[in-house]
Symmetry: C2
Subunit: 327 residues, 2 copies
Amino acid sequence: MKISPMRILFALLLFATAAFAADPLPSWSDGPAKQSIITFVAKVTTAGSPDFVPVPERIATFDNDGTLWCEKPIPVQLYFLLDRVKALAPQHPEWKTTEPFASILKGDTKAALAGGERGLLELIMATHTGNTTEEFEQIVKDWISTAKHPKTGKLYTEMTYQPMLELLAYLRANGFKTFIVSGGGIEFMRPWAERVYGVPPEQVVGSSVKTKFEMRDGKPVLLRLPEVNFIDDKGGKPVGINEHIGRRPVMAFGNSDGDLQMLQYTRAGSGARFCLYVHHDDAAREYAYDRKDALARLDQGLDEAAVKGWTVVSMKNDWKRIFAFEK
Amino acid sequence: MKISPMRILFALLLFATAAFAADPLPSWSDGPAKQSIITFVAKVTTAGSPDFVPVPERIATFDNDGTLWCEKPIPVQLYFLLDRVKALAPQHPEWKTTEPFASILKGDTKAALAGGERGLLELIMATHTGNTTEEFEQIVKDWISTAKHPKTGKLYTEMTYQPMLELLAYLRANGFKTFIVSGGGIEFMRPWAERVYGVPPEQVVGSSVKTKFEMRDGKPVLLRLPEVNFIDDKGGKPVGINEHIGRRPVMAFGNSDGDLQMLQYTRAGSGARFCLYVHHDDAAREYAYDRKDALARLDQGLDEAAVKGWTVVSMKNDWKRIFAFEK
């Protein structure tokens, strides 16, 4: 057979296409974790596959702290809270002699956590409410554009995990709607989630305070009240998912026992479902913590993941790099 | 000049394209209401226009009862409630002698409303809770597929307004995300809103009861509790919009004073905004009611619409047909 120049050109083109077909998850090492994601996405998006899921039902939910961005030494929203105490202190002279404010103002970050969950709620109410939703949004935007991680000196929005950013984009490219389902404040995440994660405000689920509609000088505003509306953690996550999304996720991603109920709820749906835990086992490049961590324990979840065959990502082994700013 | 056959063909093609360019709102009469919609959509979607709105910010919110479907003689969910009382009666022998159940079981529909808002809430708790979210979804699906309007004998899902269905599709074709923001139950609307309106569950905002995550025989379920979670009406509508969408609508559509705060909140945003009231003034083809209606009053809203120049749709004059089943 004579080989025509056209044939050669065609063969070259084919080769080039294959060689340059971009790996959608370049920061993931080849291995069982990456493979489990790609295999799952292929089977639920291939028409005719017994596991095929129609596009409107392709819901993927992601925890935020420790799953999409770094939550150590303490969760980012706590740094925001500490800075709010300092910013509001001039209006509260009594804080100089009232705990935990006095200690916080002296630079003792641990004081913010000393009062447990109840003390934390009190601090949130003192620092996150009393303004309108628009005012609060602007405060968050200003803070997040300048505040920096104490260890790396990077903006918190740079402390997002590059492999997870790739995963969000990969799922969206495959017809998934990506949601954040976080114990963090819904109004704390929305002002930057779209820019940083590509997740629009209507796809952010989180904890919230009550708001109240009122007219202020003839202009309608929503006032943030010092009253808990919803805690989006543990059993609250499936509740929040049902309330905001109204459809059971097909894929769910977390990193702590606070995400366990979300993963259980996801897995209990009919048809193919995918659950993944990010396991913080890389003290050199990030932090290492799991069964004994006070704020973000991953204990029961690790056991259940092993029994049920959920994907557990070793940050050390499965991620080539953790942050985009790494060489 | 000699006219070539190609030129003639091209002219014919142009003519054909213009003649067949589909009117996106064929059930709307030409007039100021239709024109106001088309003009507004053109100016916010035309790149370079001073009123241009980027696609992610194109949020349109629609009330449901009386705005997207018929709410007379009584709102559809009340018929559902009455049928639930009948279906549950065998498990509640005491209802035979307890009001308002006794009257409802004798066929007195007015009894459901006799107790005012508080009585209605009690009836909702008795008929809408105590099951899982999945069980309730199935009950709604079964009911909505067979229950019929008492006057027309049509399925309630056929009692949707054809001009509004066209409007929903037209806005989506122009990059808008369409949301329902209704005083009705969020879990009552979601099972059919996607099929009937093209609005997926995650874009439905409504009133809700609290739910609780629990394990039932090792399977995670969400239990519907007899406790109000949220009332999505009046000042609650902007609250619900902020909570679920997190972005101020660019366009808002309602038909009663219960929608007024949603329209005010929408209008108060910066840049171009559009507010529209559907005015029920067609007793022949549908129902006529406004300032004096007990359940769906449009009084203050009509005044404010006049002052602020909002679009008020006369169902009689602005809609060529109301229901798809009309000739």
